[in-house]
Amino acid sequence: MGENKSDVLQGTLDLMVLKTLESMGPLHGYGIARRIEQVSDDTLSLNQGTIYPALLRLQQRGWIKSEWGTSENNRRAKYYSLSRIGKKQIDKETESWERVAATIARFLASSR
């Protein structure tokens, strides 16, 4: 594991997955993992496999759903998409994350 890459917080990964699905539409696990890596410019120490427990967690809450499909190059894969609850949840999650980020930012600013 890369020393200078940061570990991903649990809730963070969830939100990343939700956001990815929101912008990209239905996507399989590999696609989601790649997208997150690309967006974060490979600064996250994301073992691609860790995406799957996160996907399971979101599925169990009913925020995303999955079904088997075929990729453009004719490979069978499981596609994940946002559910109705998930769509609603994104705003809530985003808001709470922004609140945390803002708080942290204030701390960082004040200690400077």
Binding site: Y30, N47, Q48, G49, Y52, P53, R57, S71, R76, K78
Partner: protein, 907 residues
């Protein structure tokens, strides 16, 4: 909501986990293929592309494991795994499993059986509103501090309490009755109760159909529906098929028309335990049957009375209040003729909790049931010790298995949990089988109560409370007998066990095993001693000379409340009827008495020799009121003088038992002397008296119980007109000695129909039966304790056998070596037995001490045997040692037939 959705999803995933596992694998595979393809497109060679893809993915197995932990129900998975594993273990050793299950079934079955009875008789909370508020009001008339006899109340007393006491509300009365019952073509007897109008209201029960009785029903002339009747849920279902149209139906109860107004709720069996009324009528029915005076008779105690405590009044406060009110309540309600009888003077008022209702059986059976409960608990402990021993032996045979599993990463807790599951899988079928055994044994145990009504009314069907106790029992057992092996197993040193390839060479747990045998032996010895003492007691009681003839003698209660004859005419009727019965073929003698012997009834009175009345203090004697022929009917010889005669000249005559003669006239002949019955009026200090001429001295007999030596008894004639005879003489007993019970019954029925046709037929009681039933409690105790002792003995034998067999197996090579080096068979035998003898000795010694204390604890139940009887102790110890040694001999014999060359070769 999220957690709920997650849980549901987990449950679903748990059910289809195999399919999901496949899908996950496929998903991972497709992930890797996507990644490989992309890498390849970037120009990596095939092998590198795949490697890089796998690197980027991370640890596949860890991810899978994390995924699974999150997906299904991992705890259930583990348990399911353990169960499957345990099932395999059990299948591999079916004999072991069978022994374990049967052992447990016996132990748990015994516990369940006794607990079912305890629960039914003592513990079941009444299905009513706020049962904790209920109290039973009664009059304590015990002769001694401990005998706990109490009497019910009557309406005048209840009304006085309602008026004066501030402690209670919802006071209601209850009296169990058997009625002749007619409904259309159905004509049968029915078990019923007459209850106060407010009884159901006070209990707070709701009808299953129609309505329950109300105070409006309990009025002279009946209520809105005439004579209202409520039927039990049981007969509603059994007889009327739960038909709601039963409401309003006309029935006939003891020749009186009544209307069914409602059905009591299911499961409601009244407040008297072991009696289940199938019909409830208002107390007014007493007046309908026997006239208003009997309903309000202050001289008769016949109504079981219950009440609710007022809020913020404690039971002690209520009792204190009642104690101050009681004398004045007695003054106001008891007829002057009875007010100053010693029994009334000594009576105290009692307020007892009635959360579980009340039963007259309780006074008799509470302690014996507790005693049996302790004994079955001991049996269960022996079972557990046995199984613990067996499991330890197996655990040591499985040491390698445990070591390998531990080496592969199983935690100690995991190992222990797995063993526990294994134990539980033996304990639960054992418990199930035990419940079945208890159910089967139920009727047999009930029969030993010696109470026909209770036998019918008590359900031995295991209910929820009993089953939960049984299951708790099984879990506790599994913990108990699984603990030791689990502990040793989890403390196996991995490398030592693996290096030591010979499973038999291990010694783990042998220290513990050595503890179990003395423990079992000690418990069994205690059980055997207790059972022997109780067995001796019942044998002595049954062969005890009571002084009575019991064969072919019947007692028949009379119910002459409705015959027109009263007072002297009634007494004459009794005389005539007894004489008429004697005319029938096969009837030898017939007589009348107020108290049939050995039925537990007890009348006492104070007497003094008239000639000494100036200075001697009156002394108490038992009393009975009889007609002529009483002595010849019961085979009691008249030692001197003559029998009483059924005529007026004997109105003031009496007969004394020899003990009574000796008590009142020591050293002189009592015949012809005068005996004075002294009645003290404690409040006024005045004593009145009544003199009787002694015309005969009868042989001594027991009176109300086989246990006591013959007390002094004074026999007075029914012609003496004792105004205080029960119900003014309307309920006495005919005593008939005939060729057979049938002949006696025939004579009675014919005479009854001829001379007192208005009186109900009452089934006769065979003296030989009531004689045996008078020791029903001792019989129950001795039979059950004997059975438990036998069980304990058997289990201990299995335990000893198991220990020795295991030791021999463990030491096969050692013994082979010894024999190869020249040890004789005798020496080998001695070697094996020495250990057993040591353990037996410790067990017998500690068991002897335990038995000594146990025997002292039950001394109250013993009869003509001292709790420390040396013969019983010696015989029990001998029996146990003998059986123990016998159990050890079998495997020891195997030790001496070990072939040294064979034994050493296997090393």
């Amino acid at each position: 909501m999220d957690w709920l959705r997650t849980l549901l999803s987990r449950c679903k995933a748990f059910l289809i986990r195999n399919k999901l596992d496949q899908e996950l694998e496929e998903e991972f595979r497709s992930h890797l293929e996507f990644a490989t393809e992309e890498n390849r497109r970037r120009g990596m060679p095939e092998d590198d592309a795949r490697q890089a893809a796998m690197r980027a993915f991370g640890g596949m197995t860890q991810i899978q494991e994390r995924y699974r932990l999150r997906r299904g129900l991992p705890l259930l998975d583990t348990i399911a795994q353990d169960v499957r594993f345990a099932a395999r273990q059990i299948r591999r050793a079916p004999g072991f499993a069978a022994v374990a299950i049967i052992t447990l079934a016996l132990g748990i079955g015994a516990n369940t059986a006794v607990f079912t009875l305890t629960h039914a008789l003592l513990l079941r909370t009444l299905p009513v509103r706020d049962p904790g508020e209920l109290v039973r009001l009664a009059i304590d008339v015990s002769a001694t501090e401990t005998d706990g006899r109490n009497a019910p109340l009557n309406l005048p007393i209840i009304e006085a309490i309602e008026k004066r006491s501030r402690s209670f509300h919802g006071i209601f009365a209850w009296c169990v009755y058997d009625f002749p019952f007619k409904d259309g073509t159905v004509n049968s007897g029915i078990h019923g109760a007459i209850v106060s109008g407010n009884a159901f209201e006070s209990l707070g029960v709701r009808p299953a159909a129609g309505r329950l009785l109300t105070p409006a029903d309990d009025q002279p002339g009946g209520g809105p529906d005439g004579l209202a009747a409520v039927i039990s849920h049981r007969i509603w279902v059994e007889r009327y098929h739960a038909d709601p149209s039963v409401i309003g139906r006309h029935i006939t109860v003891t020749d009186h028309g009544a209307t069914i107004v409602g059905v009591a709720p299911a499961g409601f069996e009244g407040v008297i335990v072991a009696e289940h009324p199938d019909i409830y009528l208002p107390i007014e029915f007493q007046a309908v049957l026997y006239g208003q005076p009997t309903k309000h008779d202050g001289g008769r105690l016949w109504l079981e009375t219950f009440a609710r405590l007022n809020p913020s009044v404690s039971r002690a406060q209520a009792a204190a209040e009642m104690n101050t009110l009681f004398p004045s309540i007695l003054d106001a309600t008891v007829p002057p003729a009875l007010r100053h009888l010693p029994v009334i003077e000594k009576a105290r008022f009692e307020v007892k909790p009635a959360r579980t209702g009340w039963s007259k059986l309780r006074a008799q059976y509470t302690e014996p049931l507790l005693l049996l409960q302790i004994m079955v608990a001991a049996v269960l402990l022996i079972c557990c010790a046995n199984l613990s021993g067996l499991f330890l032996a197996r655990a040591s045979a499985r040491r390698q298995e445990f070591a390998i599993r531990e080496a592969l990463g199983a935690g100690r807790l995991r190992l222990m949990a797995q063993l526990f599951v294994e134990c539980l899988m033996l304990a639960l079928p054992g418990a199930l089988l035990g419940v079945w055994l208890a159910w089967m044994a139920g009727p047999w145990i009930l029969h030993m109560l010696g109470n026909a009504e209770a036998e019918q009314a008590i359900s031995m069907r295991p209910n929820l409370a009993v089953l939960s106790v049984t299951v708790a029992c099984a879990v506790l057992c599994a913990l108990l007998f699984g603990m030791a092996p689990a502990w040793t197993a989890s403390h196996t040193s991995v490398d030592a066990a693996l290096r030591n390839s010979h499973p038999r060479a291990s010694t783990g747990g042998s220290g513990l095993r050595n503890f179990f045998v003395p423990f079992q032996v000690a418990l069994s010895l205690t059980l055997v001693v207790v059972a022997s003492l109780l067995g001796t007691t019942i044998a002595r009681l049954l062969t005890e000379d009571s002084g009575y003839r019991t064969d072919n003698v019947v007692f028949i209660l009379t119910d002459f409340l409705r015959v027109p004859e009263k007072g002297e005419a009634l007494v004459a009727l009794y005389h005539r009827m007894a004489a008429r019965m004697e005319e029938f073929p096969g009837v030898d003698e017939a007589s009348v008495a107020a108290q049939p012997p050995l039925m537990g009834g007890r009348w006492t009175d104070d007497f003094v020799a008239a000639e000494n009345a100036q200075y001697a203090r009156p002394a108490e004697a038992m009393e009975n009121i009889i007609a002529a022929q009483y002595f010849s009917t019961l085979g009691i010889s008249i030692l001197s003088g003559r029998d009483l005669q059924n005529n007026d000249s004997d109105r003031n005559s009496c007969i004394l038992s020899r003990a009574a003669a000796r008590l009142y006239f020591p050293g002189v002949s009592a015949l012809g002397k005068t005996l004075r019955n002294v009645i003290h009026h404690r409040d006024t200090g005045v004593a009145t008296f009544h003199d009787y001429q002694i015309v005969g001295i009868a042989q001594d007999t027991k009176y109300d119980s086989l246990r006591e030596s013959p007390p002094p008894i004074v026999y007075l004639p029914i012609t003496s007109g004792e105004g205080w005879m029960t119900n003014a003489g309307a309920t006495l007993f005919f005593i008939i000695h005939a060729r057979s019970t049938a002949a006696a019954n025939l004579a009675y029925l014919a005479t009854l129909h001829e001379m007192a046709p208005s009186s109900p037929e009452i089934p006769p009681i065979e003296f030989s039966q009531s004689f045996r039933d008078s020791v029903a409690r001792e019989r129950l105790l001795s039979v059950m304790s004997g059975f438990f002792a036998l069980l304990g003995l058997l289990l201990s034998c299995i335990g000893i056998y198991g220990l020795v067999a295991w030791n021999v197996a463990r030491r096969t090579s050692e013994i082979g070596l010894r024999m190869a080096l020249g040890a004789t068979r005798m020496r080998v035998f001695a070697l094996v037995m020495r250990q057993v003898i040591g353990l037996l000795a410790i067990g017998v010694l500690t068991g002897g001490i335990a038995a000594f204390f146990a025997a002292r604890a039950i001394r109250g139940y013993l009869f003509e045997i001292r709790p420390g009887d040396p013969v019983i102790f010696a015989l029990s110890a001998l029996l146990l040692s003998f059986v123990g040694l016998l159990a050890a001999t079998l495997p020891a014999h195997r030790a001496i037939s070990i072939d040294p060359t064979q034994a050493l070769k296997t090393e």
